[in-house]
Each structure stands twice: as C-alpha cells, then as structure tokens.
Symmetry: C2
Subunit: 332 residues, 2 copies
Amino acid sequence: MVSIKDIAALTGYSVATVSRVINQSPKVSEETRRRVEEVIRSTDYHPNFIGRNLRSSASMKILMLLPTLDNTFFSDVLRGAGDAAMAAGYQIVVGVTNKKAEVEESYISMLRSCQVDGMVLTNTILDKFDLNRLAGSYPVSLLSDIVEGADLSCVTIDNVAAAKEATEHLISLGHRRISMVNGYYYRSLSIDRENGYRMALEQAGLTYDPTQIVRADYNFKGGYSAAKKLMTRKDPPSAIFCSADSMAIGAVRYLMDHGLDKQVSVMGFDNVQESEYFFNGISTVNQPKYELGQQSVQLLLEKIQDIHAPNRRLILPHELVIRGSSHPCLGG
Amino acid sequence: MVSIKDIAALTGYSVATVSRVINQSPKVSEETRRRVEEVIRSTDYHPNFIGRNLRSSASMKILMLLPTLDNTFFSDVLRGAGDAAMAAGYQIVVGVTNKKAEVEESYISMLRSCQVDGMVLTNTILDKFDLNRLAGSYPVSLLSDIVEGADLSCVTIDNVAAAKEATEHLISLGHRRISMVNGYYYRSLSIDRENGYRMALEQAGLTYDPTQIVRADYNFKGGYSAAKKLMTRKDPPSAIFCSADSMAIGAVRYLMDHGLDKQVSVMGFDNVQESEYFFNGISTVNQPKYELGQQSVQLLLEKIQDIHAPNRRLILPHELVIRGSSHPCLGG
DNA sequence: AGCAAGGATGTAAACGTTTACAATTTAGGA
DNA sequence: TCCTAAATTGTAAACGTTTACATCCTTGCT
C-alpha cells in the first residue's frame, strides 16, 4: 500500500509538500505541483482517509439507518438524502438493521467511534431516553417517525391530518363501516394516524370502535392476514384504511382472492412506486419522500456544524392520491 | 471527546494497560481490569475506530454497492450478506449508486482509501478493465451480474438455464409467439437470459425473431411501455418473458389496462416478494437471494484474508415458480 | 550593500490506537 | 540468600495524514 511517504521519497519532496499538493494548497509552486502529481498518477496512490480522518476528526460521512429494504419507500428518501449530502461534500452510508437491536447498536457504534459524522434515524427502536443521550453528544436527526419527548431535529409529515383526510375520503364515498390496519408498535406514527382516523369518524358522526383496528406487520403478509381477520368478522367493514401501502396491497390481495374487491375499498399510506401498478392502483397518501430525505440530511448538517444548533421540527406537505382501490360504497 | 488517554489519566494506569483491558487481553490483573472498566463505564468512553483502524489497518467493514433500492430483490440479498458478515465479525455498509458513475466512484474510493476492507458489487457499471485493475489490488466480489473477462470471485445463478426453463414453461402452455423484454445494457445477465430464451425457442422448433425482443429499464415503467410496444405490433405475442419481475408487473399492468391479461401470459424473473401479491401472482424464476448475499460475502472474506486466494465462481440453484400470470394459450 | 517581505519548502507534533519490548514486582526453588 | 520465571505494567514507536512553525531563498527596495 503506497503512502504519502512513498510519494515524498519518490519525488524528493517532503510529505508536507506532497500533502499540500493533494489538498490543492496555493502555497506550492507550479513546477512542484506538476512533478508531484505526475508521480502520484504513475503509482496508484490514494490518500488514506483513515489517516486523514484521524488527523482532521471528520469523516465526511453520514450514516442512514433503515429498518429494512422490503419497502421501496426508502428508495426515494435515499435519493434525496444522497443529493443533499453530495451537495455538501458528504457521503451517505446506509445501515440496514432488520429491526434487530444488536445490529442497530453495532451501527450506532459507528457514530460513537467517529466513523461517521452524524446519523439519520428512521423507525428506530430506540426510546426517547436512548435518543436524548445520543443526540446530546452526537449529531442525529429523525426521519418520518417522530419519537415524542426526544429532543432532536426531525422531519416528517402531519400524520394526523393525513390520516384524517384519507379516512374522510372513504367517508365521502359513502362508507360507514371503516376499519383500520395499523402497525404493532406504539410509535407516534401509528398513534397519529390512528388519531386522524378517529377524528374523521367522530367528526362525521360515525361511531369509533377500537375493535375495528387491527394491528399487523408493515408488509404484504401483515395486510393480507389483517384483511382476513376483518372480513371474517360478523360485521365486516366496507372500507379499510391501512397505515402503509404494503399492507394495503396485501389487503387488496385478500379481497380479490375472495371476490370482495369490488365491495370493499382500501386506502394505503406512503404512495410507494408500486402502488400505481398494483391492481387498479392503490389509493393512498403521498409522502414527499425525496424531500424528507433531503431535509433530514439538511437538519443533520446543521447539527454537524454545531452540535448546539437549535432543534428544528419540519412538517412537509402530504397529498391524497386517489386510484382504483377506493370506490363508492355499494351497500350505501 | 474522551480518549484512551483520559481513561489512563483517570485510572492512573498507562494507555497500554487501558488498551489491554479494552481488548480483553489476558495479561492484566483482575483488580486492574475491574478498576479500568469502572472508570470507562462512568465516563462515556468509546474507543475511536479511526485510531484503531489506522493502527491495525483493518476496518472490519464491507461495502455493498447497490444500483438502487427500487427493487426489493436486494432486501433479501442484504439480509444474507449481513448475517454472513456479522458471523465473521464484519459489518455491512451499503452504498446506493443510483447508477451514477460519479457516485459509484465516490464509494469505490472508500475501498482505495482503506475505509472498508472489501466490496461486493452488484450490477456495476465498471467494465472488465476497471474491475481487473480494482480486484488486482483490493478484495472485491461480484454478485448476480457477472462481467465476462473480469478476474474475480463471483456468485450467480445459471441465467441461461433459468431463462430457458422459463421460456419452456410458456411453450409447454401452448404459446408459439413468445416475446422477451430485456434490459438495455449489454450485461452478461441480459445476454445469458436472452440466450436461454433463444435456445428454448430453437429446441422447440419455433423461429427465433430478434425483433420480438424489446429493451427496457428494469422497472415498472419499462415493462409497461415494452408491453405496449409489443402488443401494438401487427403480430403481437401471446406470451411475454420479462427479464425481471418489476418489468413483468409493468407488463401485466398494461395488459390488464387493455383487457389482454387473459389472453397473454407473462413470466418474470427474480421472484421478489411482491410478485406473489401482484394481480394473480407473477410466474417467475426464483433466485436464492439470501444465499447469494451470504455467499458473496463469504467469497469476499476469502479475498480479505488473502488477496491472492483463488477466484471462485459459484452457481446457485434457481427454481421455477408458477403463479397466475402464465396460463394456457387461448388461440392454441 | 543591506534589509524586509514574501514565496517555497521542510520539520515535527498531533490525532487515538495497538503492541513489541523493556522494566518492575512477586513467588518459588535451589 | 540468590536466581529464574512468571505476571503485571510501562515506554515508545508506529499507522497516514495535516498543519503550525521554522527555515531558506529570491526579489525588490532604500
């Protein structure tokens, strides 16, 4: 492995001068620059970032922690994050936790051990105490799923309003029995969406029945079995609001398999790419994924520059996307 | 930022002894270990990996380069890779290139600059010359998409045989006009699948017509517009073999939109999670995604241990998965 | 000629670790 | 009592950079 010392030896200059050439310092003569650069090209020398980082104590890297790649939601988020990072000279590295605590912990150690300059968390399993401890010492920002009581910058949408609008859309189609498929865990994201769902029902004078809420995994299977559970009740709904498109797709799948898709409407949430292509399209709530990613990095950069920068909470706009999976209530 | 020196000062021991405690060296007394560990706990000291890496010149990190996260194909791959890495004490960091050369280059620099110990490439845009240069100096392995003439370890499936079997399945259903939707780029993956497609046709005595092959992006839109192109010919096919499930889904979507889905069969490739849920299910070829990920890391680890370890090429078993999108030819 | 200023380069310390080697202490055996 | 070996700890170099500071050499001015 050829190091800056080798280049120094080969050129006859000192390592300091070589370093200056590498870093485009103005205080080096044209002649010298030319000769050093030539030697660098002829060997295949690449500055060792470990050495550089150690000296400058900056890695120019941002860690983005994702729960899983099952969901294409994060594809756009990551594009936004990548663009924002690149514009600031940073690089995004992704860690996929598969929701395992020990894996998440091992990635977080990258932050503690100075291998990355900051971290964007999405759907973390950390609680507010962990988060406060972490965010007190290191740059951290939170994306999409807020943790109430955690003192850090975050970017999300108004989940209450969005869920309310989604439910209202179903109500406007004449539906009166509307169920909800929500996540298992008590994240603010689930709570907010559930609250929005309830507010819509109550404002429309419909009875809010907690037994109409089924908890499931945020994936196809979860939606499928949740729909099964709902539709085999003695009082099945005519519409189902799912907390994620993946669940909505599973739900529609169940309905189609049982010839119920014409009678029962489904709304999803997120507007992932495939929602447009599934069945006749999944009606859903669009999240500005690219912008969420972008802003999460932007907020993080503020913290990287100054760990004491004030925390900010960004609420980005959402929007209803109506497609084929929601239709007027037949029995209505 | 508290360093090992601070711990040394606080305990009264030397940094060497503290280091030994951290690294669980046996040559340290119980008494000392206890006292040092106590102080470490009371401060929130975390060893700086940059310092450690610099000294030991090993980062215990593996970079996995992915083209995009649009495709859930890589979700399972990454799970396999993560498990294999973890078992060996390594950590996976993911880089998403979005198929941009400068982004890919910026991640590859992590390898050159010793920030990761090795790299798994998937669908790289590097050619065999780039790859040979890289793999000559650094541990690199290739996943899924082989580059002919590149001298490195790789793991894949038998794409020729798999595509042949997929096509044969359509033939066995009575189809005679079978089109193919394939990727744009001349990757071995596309070539192999195209060859398998042709072999199946020729062995069945059907004429191989290159104009029946349409090139498209590996995503929904690509499949959609490819299907449109094919179905608006004067001699539309009764079956379409797509080189990826994402394209197959787009193709089926087009067919449904035009009431053609009962007449025209579609086969995909990959067996991504959502293929089971789309429409009546996408018939496809299963790739052992988890194992591909696992083995790609395994092969890489061999190279990390010894850069001169012999190159290996692993071919993992595939399997046909028949679902609702392929059915007997109506006109037959 | 003498001097100051500025440009180019070198010297060496520093970043946070690990580890070979040296030094010290302790115990046991003759 | 003295010597050896083992156990424990310390010293200092090394990993590859960057950079403050020092040094040297021009150049131009008086």
